[in-house]
Amino acid sequence: MWRVTGIAIVTFALTSVSMRSQGLGVPEGLDLSGSWVARNFTDALGNPPAMEPTPVDFLGIPLSEAGRAAALSTSPSQISMPERMCDFYPPTYIVLGPAGLKIWPETELRTGATTAWIVSGWTAYAPFPIFMDGRPHPSKYAPHPKTGFTTGTWVDDVLTTSTTHMEVGILRRNLAPSSDLATMTTRFSRHGDTLTVTARIDDPVNLTEPFYLTRTFVLGKTPLNPASWPCTVGDEGVPKGVVPHYLPGQNPFLDEVTRLYGIPVEAVLGGSETMYPEFRRKIREKYVRPEPCVAQPGNRAGFCGSPGLYPPVN
């Protein structure tokens, strides 16, 4: 009995050494798996309960001239096109959209090592893998899939990822566009049951400097169903083959934020200077404080007295 046990112990030890010598099977970092409930307080105007930012609201986005021109020519009605209605956003949507995150690991069968983290959350973007196995990014000439291509490493227990090869996407939910040369560096920083996701979006075409976005999530008990809002193509008033857009100088929503909030148009049009505190001095004399809020018929949800109904974390 002792002899058989001794052989079993030695065999197990040798196998473990063998695995470790091949760099296999040592779990790294933290467990990010679970259903993470979005707490959309930071961007309440761009996400529920307000639901959508105004069409021309590029405050705080470091748009280049090309980016601003592209944004002003883009009509949010493009998402009502039958051809685009059920299309996916690129992975930037995890920091731009309203939904929570469902994250789970893909593990290597023999060793249990995490070969990828899968990030999902909603039908608005395709679940995308964060490859943890050290594989290189494809050639810059490789096709850009819906999921982009993302690799990750643990840096001081923060999952740090690099996403390339994204399709044309958005910088805000009013469809201010990012180009297909945009890349994203994302950090998943867990503090207990709170997850802070910080993304830096670089876009050599539409941005003049990195654009930082942060969203927070809280670990929930109720499983999040990424397929809970299946998309079906319907008629939203845009005929097939028509691409809603605005010609230069003809965007009718240029002054909407000014009318609603008194913020000058030069601020609304974005640009890197709108990211920094000193910009306030520039517009101080131009800011006109809105009249006291009075609910009017036709006001969009979220204006004038609506507290925003945030569900508890279950």
């Binding site: 930082y212 809280v218 925003g308």
Partner: protein, 191 residues
């Protein structure tokens, strides 16, 4: 930061009691008062258009100064300092936390809990937080290309009276090479 319209509390999980208080807000009254710093307390100051200076006051005390509102926050490592009366910035206790039990020293973030704050505003238009409010903040530092550094502050405000749920917001800061853009401005109820 400018005051939104009265009764604009979108984005804040305000309770019924909080709405009652917010609906009483009066900008003129705030401007006439001796204290226009109600919206510069710890729950919101790090989410304002501010620059911050961070320094060690002594071996156990980290100090954060803001140019917006010229506020000073003091983080004590160790026991919460005794304080006879409430102050705008309250008392803050800081600790370095590892994300997991046996994490490396570098794999830590700063957790700061703040209490004993004077009642104030979560927003300049009078959305309140009260004496029972507490604040937990997580400070993360990330290295960026070309030696740049980013600090992300995740703040969780709880208030059993004025909030229905914890109010969670995150702010990003970029480290600058010098203080040339430091621009102290006094508290203002209007701007």
């Amino acid at each position: 930061m400018v005051p939104p319209r009265k009764r604009d509390y979108i984005g804040i999980p305000i309770s019924v009691a909080g709405k009652k208080v917010a609906d009483q807000w009066d900008l003129a009254r705030d401007e006439a008062s001796n204290d226009q710093c109600a919206s510069y307390g710890p729950p919101t100051i790090m989410n304002q258009p501010t620059r911050v200076r961070i320094s060690w006051q002594d071996d156990n005390t980290l100090r954060i100064d803001t140019d917006y509102g010229m506020q000073t926050r003091v983080f004590s490592f160790g026991q919460r300092p005794t304080q006879r009366r409430r102050t705008r910035q309250g008392t803050s206790v800081a600790v370095w936390e590892a994300r997991r039990g046996r994490g490396a020293m570098t794999a830590r973030y700063l957790t700061v809990t703040t209490a004993n704050m004077l009642p104030g505003y979560l927003r300049k238009n009078g959305v309140p937080y009260g004496e029972q409010a507490t604040l937990t903040e997580y400070f993360d530092i990330f290295s960026e290309p070309q030696g740049a550094m980013i600090m992300v502050v995740t703040a969780i405000v709880t208030d059993p009276v004025y909030l229905e749920h914890p109010y969670i917001i995150a702010s990003q800061f970029k480290k600058e090479a010098d203080s040339s853009k430091w621009d102290p401005t006094a508290c203002s109820a209007r701007w």
